[in-house]
Amino acid sequence: MTRPVPFSQRRYFPAVLGLGSFAAFVIAVEFLVYADILNRFIIPPPSDVIGAFPRVIMEEHVLARFTQTALEALAASVLVTIFGVAGGVLLYQFTLLRRATETWVAAIAAAPLVLMYPLYLVIFGRNATTIVMMGFTAGLAPIILKTLEGLSGTRRVLINVGRSFNLTRSQQFWKILFPAALPTIFVGMRLGLIFALINIVGVEYLINFGGLGQLINELAERYDLAGTYAAICFVILVSIIVFALTERLERWLRPAG
């Protein structure tokens, strides 16, 4: 006789646990606000936030703004991936270049690049290009560094297997180094995309232009806190979509390991 699988070991249990914990958190906040432990003028009751969704969707054209932020994030993601991975490969291939610039790249990764937005406004104007380029600038360094780390960390024995089969330099890169480095490259991509998204929404907010960042700015100016939090939920949705896409891409490029 087979014993039933315990509930905690079922496949859907982690998802149920995650959603359950989130629901418990929301209920707890609702209670704390109604008990006047949390100030409702700083944190609106979650029920008000949920109630603000139809208004934000219908009156504030959130879908158009969501699409704009998502497209800016997508454009920045494509750019940081192409240039970040290429940059990492260049630093891996040319030791002198690596020695000369690695510290600088690491310093850029830690710098508050959002403060460069006035310069980008002067260069590109008050438009989506500035926002995309700010996202690109912020996300580039982590991808370069992680690509370099992934390529440098490829196990020597795998490289020797390639050499023993007489692989050309190009084959050695595409058949061994790149797939071996992919998990680390994707860690860099996720970091880079987080940095890019923060900067995209931040600059939209600061220059009061375009997508969800501008909407958050406007709602905050009107002191519509419930609407502000509802708009922030859409920013989180953009982040979830970007992450889901990178996960799919990683699984497609490297199905196991």
Partner: protein
């Protein structure tokens, strides 16, 4: 150098056949902070077609350096390596290598790992998968074709590496302590698998090992190396019947060979231990790269 026993002619024609692999007076030195270190000193050997040739020595005797030189992964040495009369100075399609470390590609399934050299050779997809399936079956991994290395045990992963090397159909297969990371029972059973494959393919094989049982179980001849600098101390002819299995380890003759090789190795291993310890006391350099 002393040669114990002459070829008994167990392999048809092997005694008279031209060597397929000839290594002549190989000397390899490394620069270390303590000065020049001679890892391999005037090592010569020749391997006949279909022969299983073992190389054994204590840690630090230059076995892996020799493996890398024959495989073409290491240059800057004196002497020559010839395969079927042709001088080799770099990786060569006639030589296939199986490494000590786990070397399967984790992002490829078993069948894709084995088909790797065929993909590099540009074989059409259907042909390379047919051939890869044959070698997967040869190493006893039928049914695991679509599995990934992370789903396999260490012994199975080493068999995938072996199938991948064999799929390239090299004239000579080099193995550098391929079972070093495995437990004793798995090691003996994999030894059976290697013997069976070698019997079936008549694959010329050069095995580098520090495991005496493994060397005697598998080899036709065993070259015993000295501790640093690695020189040829003795070549021992293993006159045990073929086909062999791991059951041979309980035979009296097997025990005699193990004892004989250990008596040669003991002196070298002791010297290695003493030198290593005194080097550590002095805070000097370890093994060559």
């Amino acid at each position: 150098m002393t040669v114990v026993a002459m070829p008994s002619g167990r392999m048809p024609g092997a005694a008279t056949a031209e060597p397929i692999l000839t290594v002549d007076n190989i000397v390899k030195q490394f620069e270390t902070p303590d000065g020049v270190l001679t890892a391999v000193d005037n090592v010569s050997l020749s391997v006949r077609p279909g022969e299983f040739f073992g190389v054994i020595g204590p840690s630090g005797c230059g076995k892996s350096t020799l493996f890398n030189i024959i495989g073409g992964l290491l240059d800057g040495y004196d002497g020559t390596v010839r395969v079927a009369g042709e001088t080799v100075d770099g990786p060569h399609p006639s030589i296939g290598m199986i490494f000590q470390e786990e070397s399967t590609f984790p992002w490829r399934s078993v069948i894709d790992n084995v088909a790797f050299p065929l993909e590099i050779a540009g074989l059409p997809k259907s042909e390379r998968y047919d051939r890869a399936r044959h070698f997967v079956s040869l190493v006893g991994l039928d049914g695991f074709e679509r599995r990934f290395p992370a789903e396999l045990s260490g012994g199975m992963r080493q068999r995938v590496s072996m199938a991948r090397t064999l799929a390239a159909q090299p004239k000579i297969m080099l193995m550098d302590e391929p079972f070093a990371a495995l437990d004793e029972q798995t090691r003996l059973l994999l030894g059976d698998k290697v013997l069976q494959i070698q019997q079936e393919l008549k694959q010329t094989t050069l095995l580098i090992t520090h495991n005496i049982t493994e060397a005697v179980q598998l080899s036709d001849r065993i070259m015993v190396m000295t501790y640093r600098p690695g020189k040829v101390k003795r070549i021992v002819e293993i006159d045990l019947p073929r086909p062999r299995t791991s059951e041979i380890v309980s035979s009296e003759a097997f025990g005699r060979y193990v004892a004989q090789i250990w008596s040669d190795l003991r002196e070298e291993a002791t010297r290695g231990l003493v030198e290593d310890e005194s080097r550590k006391l002095r805070g000097g350099a370890g093994a060559p790269p």
